[in-house]
Structure formats: C-alpha cells, structure tokens
C-alpha cells in the first residue's frame, strides 16, 4: 500500500531526528521581558487588547512560583525561562501559512515530507496546518468544508480575521493565564497554533490535523489551539509534534481550549513525540455543554519530562467525557500525565482509561482528579489505570484524587501494575516468535484500546513509535 510508505521507514534518525539549518526572518532575544513581548506582538501586528492580555499574563507568570511540591513530579529545575528563545519566525513570505506545499522553502517542505504530512493530507484528512518554529507555515482545508462555514486557520490569522470570536474565547473562560505558571507563560508568548470553528449541525467527517515542529536549539514553542464546536456539530482534531534532539533543553508549552456546545462532539487526539531534551508542559481544557461529548486521546512517547492533564469541565446536564491516554517512558524520561474531570451538572458521565509503560529507568505517573460537585446528581465516573513495567530500574506511580460532594453518584477507580508476563512471552515463543517480537506483540495488545480510537494511519504510527522505543533495549 503506497499510502503509508512514509510509515514504513524504520530509521528514527531519518524520521524525526534530522536537523535543518536554523534560518529565521525574526528571532526574539533569549528570555522573557516586557520588551520581548511587545516586539512579538508588534511583529504580529496584533490589536492592542491582545498585547494587553500578553502583558497581564507576563505579570502573572512572574508572580507565580514554579510547581515543585507535587509528590513525585518531574524535576523542572533545569527549566530556566530566561535561557529560552520564545519566538522564531521562519523565513516565509505569507503570513497565516501557504496553501501549497510547493510554495514553502525547500528545507521546510522537506521537513514535513519526511514527517509524512502531505501524504497523510491527501489520504485521510479534511485539512492540515503545519507549524515550523513559532509560526504556521502551511494551512489548507478542503473546499467543501469551507463552503459549509468551517474555519480552520492559523491562530495568529484568526486574531486578525475573526477578532470578535477570538476576543471572546481566547484564554478568558476556559484556560485563564492564572490557571498555572506555564499557562501564564503561554499567555505571554503564545504564537501560532490553530483556530477551528465548526458551525451548528456540521459534521466534519475526516479529521483535521496540525503538526508542530521545533527545529532550532534552545527555543520554546507556545502554540495556541482554540476549537469552537457549535451545537450538534462534530469534529476530530489531531495534533502531532516532534523536534530533533539537542544538548540543551527545549520547552514546549501549548495551550488548548475547546468549547463543546450543546449536543456537539469533539475528539482531540495527540501523538506526542518531542525529542528527549524537551520539557512538555501543557494546559488543555474543554468546556462541555448539555449533552455534548469530549474525547481526549493522547499518546505521550517523547519529551524528557511531560506534565499534562487534559481537563474536561462537564458544565451542562448529560455532558460526557472520555479520556484515553497512553504514556511510554524510556531512559531518562519522566512522563507525568493523567486527566482532570469536573462534573458540575446532573447526569454527567466520564470514563478515563490510562495505560503506561516504563522501561530502562523511565518513570510514568498517572495523576488524575475527578471532582463531582454538589448537585451533580446521577453522575458517574469510571477510572481505570494499568501500568506495565519492563525492568527494575523503572518506576510506575498512580496518584488519583477523587472529590465527591454529591451522594447520588457512581464512582469507581481501579488500577493495576505488573510486569510483562513471563507466561505470555513463553506462550508466544513456543509459537515461534523470538523474545523481542513477543514483547512487542504484548505491548501492542496492551495499548490496543488506544490505537483503535485513532484513524488507521495514526494507529500504525503510534504502534511504530512504540516499536522504535522498544528496539532500543530489546536488541
């Protein structure tokens, strides 16, 4: 099948680790000052209110302490924001992204070719946005969706062209910068990302995808994604990300806000493959109205340290949340991830399914919070965490928190931790598989509940990433 040729390439170096020359049209100074923020805002030709929001977020960032006292959290002492270049505009002519891959500079086009994005766009997607460093460089969506009033554009362009919507929804009611230190940082220096608007009753049948690539050493990427799904609409957003590995740290601190209106359905899928020098500290949150459904699907394979807890606020009666997450931590990685759900209305429902794999000294932690507010009668939540450990250098933690203020509820949490079963391996070996293949097959089975939620291309991609991670020590 030629459509997934790009998936067959087995060499990680060739797939993700390649580096391009670090060219840019505009590059901010290292560090975070009011002056830098003003320069970024000016370079983007932003309206005054956005500059003000950035500056307010900067002040909040400066006032807030670093999170250091969460039990078992990743060590963030290396993350010195003054050592980060927060903004790099690549050398392209068009703001808001080219509509044709051909119009991109060769090194950028080649980057996304290697990552398989144009190929995927032709086969399985309704639209694609591609970000290189701090800016979207390519943005396109099939015409039939544009005709139905669907908007899928660069976030910076949305500030210009859909100002009223952005002004109303951008970091106001969903993720305010005051939420946490890195949300505040994000609010100050955000750049790029996607704006998605799906009108009432429109179902976008194929997913749209955004891909985020960091190429430069020592940079920070802070894209913002804002999704508004109007009543009874339906859409699936996929984000992918990667970067080549450098000696010093990179920082990714994205912000995602999703508004799921009455009866709407949004799936947000992430395949995270940042290089192992990247700190990935994101804030993702959805507000779900009456009878709406939010689905978070995440695979976290990359990064040196991840702290990410996608959150759903079930605001309307009958709202539903589904979380499916998988974390894979190899040598030197600390993947601290989980889910947060607030049941604020009656008859709301959530299910959280978490799988984690740790090996070669890697550390995974499921950290989750389920809150059922007083009055959220007849709500139910089911949390299930399973962890697989490969060796005795690795660590697997599970730290769920449940706060229940309402009695007419059904709350269940379950977790298991175990090693990969010797008997299972023996069985597969007796059927002719070698040890490595047997382990890979067991892992593939372990994560199947996640992969089956993804379009086939991404399921294959996820499996391949896991295989690549496994190869390191199994060989």
């Amino acid at each position: 099948m030629s459509s997934d040729d790009h998936l067959k390439e087995t060499d990680t170096e060739a797939r993700f680790e390649f580096k391009k020359e670090q060219k840019s049209a505009f590059k901010s100074e290292k560090g975070l000052t009011e002056e830098t923020i003003r320069l970024i805002s000016e370079d983007k030709d932003e309206p005054e209110w956005m500059l003000e929001r950035r500056l307010r977020a900067l002040r909040q960032f400066q006032e807030m302490p670093m999170p250091t006292d969460w039990p078992g959290q990743p060590d963030l002492s290396e993350v010195d924001v003054d050592e980060i270049v927060p903004y790099i505009r690549p050398d392209i002519d068009t703001r808001g992204g080219e509509e044709s891959w051909e119009d991109l500079p060769e090194e950028i086009r080649d980057t996304f070719e290697k990552l398989g994005i144009p190929e995927a766009e032709r086969n399985a997607l309704s639209g694609v946005g591609a970000q290189y460093e701090s800016e979207i460089v390519y943005q396109n969506m099939q015409e039939r969706w544009q005709e139905k009033g669907v908007i899928f554009c660069d976030m910076d362009k949305a500030v210009q062209e859909h100002e009223e919507l952005v002004k109303e929804y951008f970091m106001t009611k969903c993720v305010p910068p005051s939420d946490n230190k890195f949300a505040a940082l994000h609010g100050a220096v955000w750049s790029g990302g996607s704006f998605v608007y799906v009108p009432e009753d429109v179902t976008v049948e194929m997913p749209v995808q955004a891909y985020f690539r960091m190429n430069s050493e020592g940079m920070g990427q802070f894209e913002h994604t804002l999704i508004i799904a109007e009543e009874n609409s339906e859409m699936h957003y996929i984000e992918g990300c990667s970067a080549p590995k450098y000696g010093r740290f990179n920082l990714h601190s994205g912000g995602v806000e999703v508004f799921v209106k009455e009866g709407a359905h949004v799936q947000y899928s992430t395949v995270q493959n940042w290089s192992k020098n990247t700190y990935n500290l994101n804030t993702k949150r959805a507000i779900v109205e009456k009878d709406g459904t939010m689905e978070w699907v995440s695979g976290s394979m990359g990064s040196k340290a991840t702290m990410l807890y996608p959150c759903s606020i079930l605001k309307g009666p009958g709202a539903t949340d589904n979380h499916i997450t998988i974390a894979f931590a190899g040598e030197g990685q600390n993947i601290d991830t989980g889910a947060k759900v607030y049941h604020n209305a009656p008859h709301t429902k959530s299910t959280i399914e978490s799988k984690s794999i740790s090996k070669d000294g890697g550390r995974t932690n499921y950290r989750g919070l389920v809150h059922i507010a007083d009055g959220a009668e007849h709500s139910s939540t089911a949390v299930e965490c399973d962890a697989l450990m490969f060796d005795n250098e690795s660590t697997s933690d599970t730290m769920p928190y449940m706060e229940i203020e309402e009695s007419k509820v059904d709350v269940a949490h379950e977790a298991t931790v175990g090693k990969i079963g010797d008997e299972d391996i023996f069985y597969l070996q007796s059927r002719g598989l070698d040890d490595d293949d047997a382990k890979q097959m067991i892992v593939a089975g372990f994560i199947e509940p996640i992969t089956e939620e993804l379009p086939i291309e991404y399921a294959v991609e996820l499996n391949r990433l896991i295989e690549l991670e496994m190869e390191g020590s199994l060989g």
Binding site: G72, L369, H371, D374, A387, M389, F390, D391, N392, S394, T395, S396, D397, T398, M399, P400, Y401, M402, E403, I404, E405, E406, S407, K408, V409, D410, V411, A412, H413, E414, A415, T416, V417, G418, K419
Partner: protein
C-alpha cells in the same frame, strides 16, 4: 513552619510529666528534643488538590484543648498470663532495656508536629510484651479520658514465633466543657515469624479532636494486622502504616469508619514493601451521613528491592446523605517490576436494586437499608479476631443506624 501551640507549653511542664512518672534520663531527653523540634516541623501531610486542602490541621486552635498537666484517665490493661501487659511506668521499671530499644524505633517522635507533641506530653501508656514462642489472645486495653486532653503511647513487642491479638479502645468519661484532644501513638514490633493483630476502637465524644498513628514493622515471615475503627470524635486524623522489612512478611491494614453530623474523618493507610516476597492487603470501608466528611489516602509503596511483591488495596465509601462529602486518593508507587499490585476505590449509595429486592420480599424500607449498611461492613468484620471489637463495632454501627431517619 509551625504554629502557636507551644506558646503555652514549656520545658518545665515536660520535666514535670517525666518526673512524676519517675522516668530515666534518656526518655526525658527524647521528650525535650521533641518539644524543641515543634518549632521546625510540619503537621502531618494532608492532600491538597486545586483550590482545596482536604483536612486543615493548621487552623485548629490547639491551645484551646491541650492542657498538659491535668491529664486524667481510667485505664484497664488486661491479658492472659503468658504475656506481660504493663503500664508504661511498670514497663520502665521491669523492662527498661526493652522499652529503650523499641521506643521511637518505628515511629520517629519527630515525624510530624503531632507525633512530637504526643511524645513530649504523653502521660499514660501500655507496653505489651509477648515472649518468644508464646501464643496469646484478647489482650485488652481500655482507656477512658476524663481530662481536656490526653496523650497516650502503646508499644507492642512480639518476639520470635509468638502471636497475640489485642484490642485497644478509647472513650471519653467525665464531661468537660469545650473542645478536647486525644492523641495516641502505637508502635508494633513484630519479630521473626511472629503474628500480631492490633485492633482499635475509637469512640470518643464528638467534641474531641483525635490524632492517632499506628505503625507496625515486621521481621522475616512476620505478620502485622491493624484494624482501625473510628466512630467518635469531632475530627480524626488517623494513619495506619506498616513497614514490611523482613522477607516473606505480610500485613493487613483494615479500616472502618462511620461519620455522622459534622464529623470529619481523615484516614490514611500506607504500606512500604521493603523486602522480597512481601504481601499487603489494605481494606477500608466507611459510611458517611448528614454533613460528615471523609478523606482517604492509601499508599502502596514498592521499593526497588521488593522482588515478588503482592499488594492490594480496596476502599469503599457509602454516602447516606446529600450533604456528606467523600474524598479518596489511592496511590501506587512502584519501583520494582516484579510486582502484582492493584487498587480500587468506589464512592456511591446503597444499591437501589438490592433495596428493591429486599422490600419486594416484605422487609420495610428503613430496615432493609439498615441491613444493607450493616452488611457493607462485613469484609471488615470478617478480619477482626477479637470478639469484643467485632461485637462492639457492630453494636455502634447499629446504634448509629437506629438513630437516623430518612
């Protein structure tokens, strides 16, 4: 960080308590060190989630209810002849070396603010000494607190291949106007191949603030079971913990509580697997009614060297009223992959279908509900070996149920 508590506590008071018990110098020194440490140490850890601290110990005005020099209690310490059940003073007289060896060896007096306070001020206690090879049942320690505050200490030493079952219960006697405080530390040293079941029934008055830490440590093939039952008190912070230090050792940490009115129960259950082939089973069942609030933290910590570990945890909370609140956090910390570990936690109401079944068989609804609540405690009751504890816990649950109306 510390607070105002020690403002009305002085070294002279601590010396006075120690002298009145005719204590050796090393114990006085341990008390004084604990007193001095109050300046620098924290309250016991409580869970914090965004916007909420699950139990706010800092805000308690301890001066109001700590009155170190007027401790008064009635104590009944009985057991079969093969074991020695001694008051703390007697134990110092007869077995000073034994006490010195174990006192503070399992619970560091300076673990937190409240353990240090308890160590500095305790005026009553019990030592249960079970010599090698002795099997004993039904050691019973009954404490009735008559003063504003009471600090208690219990030490159980079970030597090689011995076994013992113990019940320790706390009640309040004479009425005292205003808030009261009870604090108890229990250390359980379980020798090679020894077995201890230590059960506790806390039934203090509902003006009493209660802090207890019960901690067991096992040698090879030892087993320590702790059953912690909480009925009384205004606010309870209780922690039941076990260090599985010996290969092949085992623990069952069992908890039961029933909160009503505006009672607050903060219950911790923690096990540390530090050796090979260790097994832990953590079971907690609680009911909350009226405006009561429960907080549960369970920790199963499997150390790097704890090969072939089995560790299980179950926590279930039943909510009988709309105003009650339940928080739960069952945690797994796993550093060895050769582990079979699981935990589960549920919060919910009496099952509608079960109720329907019983009422359709002619059982009046109120009675049916009470029977189901009683039945909810069966997994805990089944673990209890001391009959007095099992019967009295059941009795207290029945009293509570009889006193409520839907």
């Amino acid at each position: 960080m510390s607070t105002q508590v020690h403002a009305n506590l002085t070294e002279a008071q601590v010396r006075e308590i120690s002298e009145s018990l005719d204590e050796p110098e090393w114990l006085l020194q341990t008390r004084l060190d604990a007193l001095a440490a109050l300046e620098d140490i924290d309250f016991p850890a409580v869970i914090q989630t965004p916007g909420r601290k699950w139990t706010n110990l800092q805000d308690l005005a301890f001066e109001e209810f700590v009155d170190p020099l007027t401790a008064a209690e009635e104590k009944d310490q009985v057991g079969p002849d093969e074991v020695e059940v001694l008051s703390f003073a007697e134990a110092l007289d007869e077995h000073e070396e034994l006490v010195k060896e174990h006192f503070g060896s399992i619970v560091d007096p300076q673990t937190n603010y409240l353990t240090a306070l308890s160590t500095a001020l305790f005026s009553t206690g019990t030592v249960v000494y079970v010599p090698e090879g002795v099997d004993a049942e039904d050691v019973t320690i009954r404490t009735t607190m008559n003063s504003r505050s009471l600090f208690n200490y219990t030490l159980v030493v079970a030597e090689e291949s011995s076994s013992v079952t113990i019940l320790e219960r706390q009640e309040t006697g004479d009425h005292v106007e205003g808030k009261r405080y009870y604090s108890g530390i229990t250390e359980l040293a379980v020798g090679e191949n020894a077995y201890v079941q230590y059960g506790s029934l806390q039934d203090l008055s509902e003006e009493t603030y209660n802090y207890q830490l019960k901690y067991g440590a096992t040698d090879t093939y030892g087993q320590v079971d702790i059953v912690d039952c909480n009925i009384g008190s205004r606010l309870t912070k209780t922690s039941v913990e076990a260090d599985l230090n010996g290969d092949g050792s085992e623990t069952k940490l069992v908890g039961a509580f029933y909160g009503h009115d505006d009672q607050h129960f903060d219950v911790d259950s923690r096990v540390w697997h530090r050796a090979e082939h260790t097994t832990a089973d953590l079971v907690t069942r609680g009911v909350i009614d009226d405006r009561a609030r429960s907080v549960y933290e369970g920790v199963q910590d499997v150390g790097r060297d704890a090969w072939s570990t089995s560790s299980y945890q179950r926590e279930n909370t039943l909510m009988l009223s709309d105003e009650s609140e339940a928080d739960a956090s069952p945690k797994l910390i796993i550093n060895n992959h050769d582990t079979e570990a699981s935990h589960s936690a549920t919060v919910g109401q009496v099952d509608e279908e079960d109720l329907f079944y019983m009422t359709s068989r002619g059982v009046p609804p109120q009675l049916a509900k009470n029977m189901l609540v009683e039945g909810f405690y069966v997994p805990v009751l089944e673990e209890i070996e001391v009959e007095e504890l099992r019967e009295d816990l059941q009795g207290r649950i029945r009293d509570r149920l009889a006193g409520r109306f839907d």
